[in-house]
């Protein structure tokens, strides 16, 4: 293994060197069928159940491009402020590797569908413009599992087994121009860019962009140059970084590693590196020089793409509200601070809060539940907030029940627990768990009298004017009613019954 563990602390590395970033992001489009054939694209199907002669490259099978994938790619290009090609072609990228049964991947080479765009991201209150070099359309590869050998990795495996369900799913590659001048913010800029891109894809509705399922994958390029140097250093490419947090860590880790190598008088090898989720470190993979002879040529089996300018303009006019504008609007509507808005974004709660508000809840309540109790639950179980088995409409109903006085916050938490356990709708859970607030005054008084009788010491203290002792009695009432009493009303009644003015 060519693993070098020595690193230079980030701050020191940044004092001596300036980083330059580049990001290549792959987005699997959420089309019903594959790029060049009619196979379905659902994630997680049993191996080789979503394949046909085209995506298995059986002799004589011919590809035909998916119109929806072309349209989605153009919409992505437009949303990224790109120029859309008036005429372009697919190209064959030739390589021998069993993840593509054709022994080539249909991609685009020197004629990408979209070029020269940009995406603005916000980091630390500062707007950084990330230039987009190109957006092109290609097909995803199959999935290999490496069997045997010491590590389960490709190196030294005894053999591999391949599932072609993913082969041929439309894949959009988005490539930035080198991003210089980000300095200490480089790791955050990388993360903010991928976050913004992910939100953009979501708002366009072109992909489910689930990094953990690989429908959004990121390759991170990093190079360092000594401060004041005019020329950029040699870059490395860290492949398949599969979470937002990992994007940030990969950039940071690579800066620390390269700084140590350079400070030691060493040289950076242009190579592909692998990111390790557990340690945050990268290790050397294939060296670039040997892998780069793809002999691209125009794909003879597919005709050129020539989007009519009128159609492109129509697509541009129909673009939805984009994430930055939407965030600004929501923040104003909800009346929340920059900090609260950023927290909601980081927790992936903006869509959920918006949907809850749409279902009738006041924004402050919607935010309280999603960012409080539910964020805590998601955190505990290690799931994404959106993956909790709970719907915004259900939260809106819980909020409504609390507002009407039928539930206290404490009881509402029990309803959430029931929702997460799949016990039905909020109303069903209130009914089944018997959670409704004791609103019958007679019932509440009966409970209070019981508690007073059982706690004569405390009751006497209150009678004698030590009103603070009422707290313990209210606690007793809440306990006896299993949390279903209205605590404020219980306190009033206790004081009344003990002859003390409230």
């Amino acid at each position: 293994m060519t693993t070098t563990r020595s690193v230079m602390p980030f701050d020191e590395a940044l004092e001596r060197f300036e980083p330059v970033l580049g990001l290549e992001t792959h987005v699997e489009l959420g089309t019903e069928s594959k790029m060049f054939c009619g196979c379905p694209t659902a994630f997680g199907a049993p191996p080789n159940t979503q394949v046909c002669p085209v995506c298995l490259a059986l002799p004589g099978a011919l590809p035909v491009a998916n119109d929806q994938a072309i349209e989605s790619t153009i919409r992505i290009g437009l949303a990224l402020n790109c120029t859309i090609a008036e005429w372009c072609r697919f190209a064959r990228k030739n390589y021998f590797y069993p993840d593509m049964p054709k022994n080539y991947q249909i991609s685009q080479y020197d004629e990408p569908l979209c070029t020269d765009g940009h995406l603005d991201v916000e980091v630390d209150g500062r707007t950084v413009r990330v230039e987009i070099e190109r957006v092109h359309l290609e097909e995803d590869t199959g999935k290999s599992t490496h069997v045997g050998g010491a590590t389960g990795r490709i190196h030294g495996a005894d053999y591999s087994i391949v599932d072609y369900n993913r082969a041929g799913i439309p894949l959009v590659e988005i490539v930035t121009r080198p991003i210089a001048g980000t300095d200490r913010l480089a790791p955050e800029v990388a993360r903010a860019y991928v976050t913004e891109l992910r939100e953009l894809m979501r708002s366009l509705g072109v992909s489910d962009v689930r990094m953990e399922q690989g429908s959004l994958r990121c390759d991170v390029n990093v190079s360092l140059m000594p401060r004041g140097a005019a020329e950029w250093g040699t870059r490395t490419e860290t492949k398949n970084v599969n979470s937002l947090r990992s994007v940030e860590r990969a950039v940071r880790g690579e800066i620390e590693r390269q700084a140590a190598v350079l400070a030691d008088g060493g040289r950076i090898v242009q190579e592909t590196r692998h990111f390790h989720e557990d340690t945050g470190a990268t290790t050397s993979g294939r060296s670039k020089e040997e892998a780069q002879d793809y002999r691209y040529f125009p794909e003879p089996d597919l005709l050129p793409i020539a989007p009519a300018p009128e159609w492109v303009e129509e697509l541009r006019a129909r673009l939805p509200e984009l994430p930055t504008a939407r965030r600004r609007r929501l923040q104003a509507e909800w009346g929340v601070s920059d900090l609260d808005m950023a927290a909601m974004r980081n927790a992936d709660a903006v869509d959920l809060v918006e949907a809850t508000v749409a279902a009738g809840a006041p924004a402050a309540d919607a935010r309280k539940w999603w960012m409080g109790e539910l964020a805590r639950r998601a955190n505990e179980s290690g799931t994404a907030l959106a993956d909790l088995p709970i719907e915004p409409g259900q939260i809106a109903r819980v909020v409504e029940l609390v507002a009407s006085g039928a539930l206290t916050d404490k009881l509402a938490r029990q309803v959430l627990e029931g929702l997460l356990a799949g016990e039905g709708s909020p109303d069903e859970i209130v009914e089944a768990r018997g959670l409704r607030v004791v609103s019958d005054e007679g019932e509440l008084i009966a409970i209070i009298d019981q508690v007073l009788a059982a706690n004569t010491d405390a009751a006497d203290k209150v009678r004698a004017g030590k009103v603070a002792a009422a707290g313990a009695l209210v606690g007793g009432v809440m306990k006896a009613s299993r949390g279903k009493a209205d605590a404020a009303r219980a306190r009033e009644l206790i004081l009344q019954r003990l002859g003390v003015a409230g």
């Binding site: 191996p47 979503q50 491009a65 929806q68 490496h146 591999s160 002999r295 050129p304």
Partner: protein, 99 residues
């Protein structure tokens, strides 16, 4: 002067994962040289008013609607595979041990 060198043929053979013996390299270098020569003659005919083209048909924008069509069953898909394991195509070792 031939249009393709023996070293270039060896490079292409390696990229194509073909194990060619020395006499075969010689043999294919001669053949490929003939082919490149023939293509070069076509190129000579081209003038400025003939744009380069990659497709014989004057068509663009031929697409299919985004609809799922029935494909193969896994049994059919794997029927001709030399080796199968766990519902997947089994392929020989891809890369050796790391240096």
């Amino acid at each position: 002067m031939s249009a393709i060198t023996r070293d270039e043929v060896a490079h292409l053979a390696r990229l194509s994962r073909l194990a060619l013996a020395d006499d075969e390299l010689e043999h294919y270098a001669t053949q490929l040289d003939d082919i490149i020569g023939a293509v070069a003659r076509v190129a000579e005919v081209a003038t400025d008013d003939i744009p380069p083209s990659s497709h014989a048909l004057p068509l663009t924008n031929v697409y299919r609607p985004d609809e799922v069509r029935p494909g193969l069953t896994p049994e059919q898909a794997l029927a001709a595979a030399p080796a199968v394991e766990d519902g997947r195509f089994r392929v020989p070792r891809i890369l050796g041990e790391e240096a």
